[in-house]
Symmetry: C2
Subunit: 532 residues, 2 copies
């Protein structure tokens, strides 16, 4: 009996079939064969997985950490894994920053805050192919516990902060898994700011995407460094003042009357009535002075219901406020604030080098320059410098933002400093409670301070005499009834005093030469944003 193999081009029904149909049939057969083969392979692989995965105790997803045990395992910080640990076997915990699998090997970069290290996993008699595959498939941003040998590398690992060593991975467990889809890539969010027109073909992350996904954006080494430096600003501020005998106070944010005339103030429903959010702690700082605290500072939220959508305005920011009784002249206070800034700048320079260098890699800026003691210029001298540079403005006119910036550049050219104090502002451009200059009431005992040409502090000697204060308020057309409580604060004896308020986010932004205040506010608030 002839089998179909010998039967020529005949179909199963015994009828001859066409060449075309034959081809089709052949293709289908090949397909089926391939399918069967693939199935067999998968089965074999699965079998192999089950039978041959000699590494299966060495990797996997860790059970959710619910505090069920207290293992005695040290986790070495990635920043501490340096060449003095070569050949040690150690555990560390980090994020899977990137991974790249090449056949039987997988390279990963682990990241912990500002630090990164390269890890290598290669199939061997101890490491199964399955383990390599598992590691290659860990989603980026997942948190992993890695055990490995620290090994010296021949060529520096340019892409990591730990350049002299890498980790030869021995165990790998996923502590917390990230979604595979990230709304932004940490690498994209970390790229150096270049010329806006430069087209290097690499993705960058726009500001709204950053802010919408702030927890990812904040993981970049740059943001980690910015907010560590910001914490440093606060620390230096408080230490410098505490050393000088200042007392820290906390002032209420909910207040009964709009502090500065009712404009730009947020209203709060307060039980069956309304209240407001304080635009500054000034009234309360002054009351603390009237209450004999002599020298006070406060760090806290300040609210401005201003519909300003600029690079340097926020609706909520952190105010670093100072108020101080003086003996005879407000320059006693001005000098203390000048010294305060020198302390802050020195502290940052000495304690935050790593942070400054990290931020500079993404946002290049010249090192911040300051003088000791701080440079103090009179307002009219500033106007004169602007006039010499061709700016026409009246002596009693306020500084516009462009003039402010220009003056900053002029001062830097002439005095080689990014910080300076402008004293004796025109009385006409300052609030009613500002003490007029005793010699010429065209001027006032008030001052602003600038960093890289932008205002970061505004302050003055305040009027401490209730009668004179009333007179000045009337002159400004203010209804005395509305500020009665304020004026009454000075009726039981009050020492002469002066002070000022500093915007923390502005100091951070300008010290580092950043371009937008949203970079230096952890969760910024502006007229269009109250999330996240």
């Amino acid at each position: 009996m002839a089998d179909s193999g010998d039967s020529g081009n005949v179909g199963p029904d015994g009828k001859p079939i066409s060449k075309k149909a034959l081809k089709k049939q052949q293709k289908e057969a090949e397909k089926a064969a391939k399918k069967a083969q693939r199935k067999a392979e998968i089965e074999a692989e699965q079998q192999a997985n089950q039978q041959e995965d000699f590494s299966k105790e060495l990797y996997g997803d860790m059970k959710m950490i619910q505090s069920s045990e207290k293992p005695d395992r040290e986790l070495v910080r990635i920043g501490d894994i340096t060449s003095d640990k070569v050949d040690q076997l150690l555990w560390c915990r980090g994020r899977l920053h990137t991974s790249r699998a090449t056949g039987r090997q997988c390279f990963v970069v682990l990241r912990q805050q500002q630090f990164t290290i390269q890890g290598l996993l290669a199939a061997s008699e101890k490491i199964s192919k399955q383990m390599v595959k598992f590691c290659a498939n860990i989603t980026k941003e997942s948190i992993v516990d890695i055990q490995g040998y620290v090994r010296k590398v021949e060529a520096k690992v340019e892409s990591c902060t730990q350049q002299d060593v890498e980790l030869h991975i021995v165990q790998a467990f996923v502590v917390s898994k990230s979604s595979p889809q990230l709304p932004l890539q940490i690498e994209d969010a970390s790229r150096p700011e270049g010329d806006a027109n430069a087209d290097d073909g690499r993705a960058r992350v726009n500001q709204d995407t950053r802010l919408d996904n702030r927890i990812l954006d904040l993981r970049t080494t740059t943001k980690q460094a910015i907010f560590r430096l910001q914490a440093g600003v606060c620390k230096q501020f408080r230490n410098a003042l505490t050393e000088r005998g200042f007392v820290e106070i906390h002032t209420p944010k909910i207040i009964s009357a709009a502090s500065e005339g009712g404009a730009n103030v947020f209203t709060v429903s307060y039980f069956k009535s309304n209240a407001f959010l304080a635009q500054s702690p000034q009234l309360y700082k002054q009351m603390a002075i009237a209450a004999d605290f002599e020298k006070v500072f406060t760090v806290g939220a300040v609210f401005r219901a201003e519909d300003s959508n600029t690079h340097r305005h926020l609706t909520e920011f952190v105010g670093l406020d100072v108020e101080m009784a003086f003996k005879y002249h407000y320059h006693e206070v001005l000098n203390v604030i000048g010294e305060l800034f020198v302390s802050i700048f020195k502290g940052l320079r000495d304690e935050c080098q790593t942070e400054i260098a990290t931020v500079n890699r993404q946002y290049p800026a010249e090192p911040f320059k300051f003088l000791e003691p701080s440079l103090i210029l009179e307002y009219k001298e500033g106007v004169r410098m602007l006039a010499d540079a061709g700016v026409e403005m009246d002596e009693e006119e306020d500084l516009s933002t462009p003039n402010e910036k220009l003056l900053g550049r002029l001062v830097r050219e002439k005095y080689d400093t990014d910080f300076y104090i402008l004293d004796k502002f025109p009385l006409a451009v300052r609030p009613f409670y500002t003490m007029p200059d005793p010699n010429n009431s065209k001027w006032s005992n008030s001052y602003d301070m600038f960093m890289r040409g932008e205002e970061i502090l505004s302050g003055a000697q305040r009027i401490h005499d209730p009668e004179f204060l009333s007179e000045r308020a009337k002159h400004h057309g203010i209804n005395l009834e509305q500020i009665k409580a304020y004026i009454d604060s000075f009726r039981y004896g009050c020492p002469p005093h002066a002070g000022g308020g500093i915007g923390l986010e502005r100091v951070t932004m300008l010290y580092l030469g950043l371009h937008n205040i949203r970079s230096s506010s952890l969760f910024p608030r502006d007229p269009k944003r109250v999330t996240p």
Copy 2:
């Protein structure tokens, strides 16, 4: 010619006058004579004033200090005027605390913050009577610049802090005058708290009067000490955490969604929409952990729209918040917070002795006791101690305020500590994001901490797994849509973490053994008070 003297009782018109009319005339004459005499005396006195006031350069009202000069005069602090300065001639600035004039002498007490000194002014060949009179008439609470010789006293001046010396006044100028009418007397506001029924006949100041006139109330040595100690709490808190590698962050107070379900939250008008005031920084602390800050703390205003009018509730208070990623067990965090409190208590004990002693004089309290390391009890152990003391309560029931206080007393009796940690609260009484105990889901990985039997911190391991978090939220009947942003924060990998929030005013109140939280809030806010 006979003169009228001899003419008998005859009027100017020559007619005789009656006895009654005569008497009247005599009286009028006497009156006129007296008046003339008085006028002459006043004129003589005025003349004497002008001619004889050889001290007139030595006293008076100072011109309002407007920073017109920078005299090179040192003002010695009253607290520094001790027996090592005997016979020195010096200037100081203080408030006129009290004055008592006795003829040609005037005794004053000058006060500067926590310190007081006696001053004496006696008419002499150098000090005119007019000068004594001027000083005797200076209104209490006015600020004065006094020059005087430091003199040793024979008997200790019991009423002043500077007991071994007094000032023999040479010059006296009023820097800032107080109204003669004070709404409260500093002495009355400073009297020791006695038994409520004790009737010593002396005025005391009730709480509303104190709070309505807070700038006067805050001048008492007690309040000066309370808020200096409070600044110490913050300093110790931050230093202890900074040393342990924590980063200070600042979290927004204006938020888009009510953080804990919408109850007890204040609404803010935010441009054309509404927003809310954060009831705690917890969500943002946790986001900072998800964003790799690892260990964070924040000090800032926290808002609760709770209509609770108790001794320990405020609608706005200062939260000292901590959040920390841990390796394997939340006790890593619990122990850090326990150590943190030990650092705070030690710091206060060592650096604020003066303040503690000052407060104790008005509010007597036993010294605050603590153990090192801190005592940690399990919740069920606490329930057992209460049961042994006759309190019937279910193991899974929350602690009522009276039971909380009773347990504090029992713990103090048994362990001799005013601070302890209660660990492993029933899961049922904690918020949905609390991690259940891995061994028995009746309990949870959460804790409260207590000072003198009152809760000052509440905290827990938080669920860091988004799926489990959703499951627990559903179990609590929470609409997942409303907390989507919160749950999504954990989708890109988040380390296990725990933390807690401390109420600053409560810590201050309970450390010092005060009875009302309004004593430890500079300008307290409660449902009935938003002023001053």
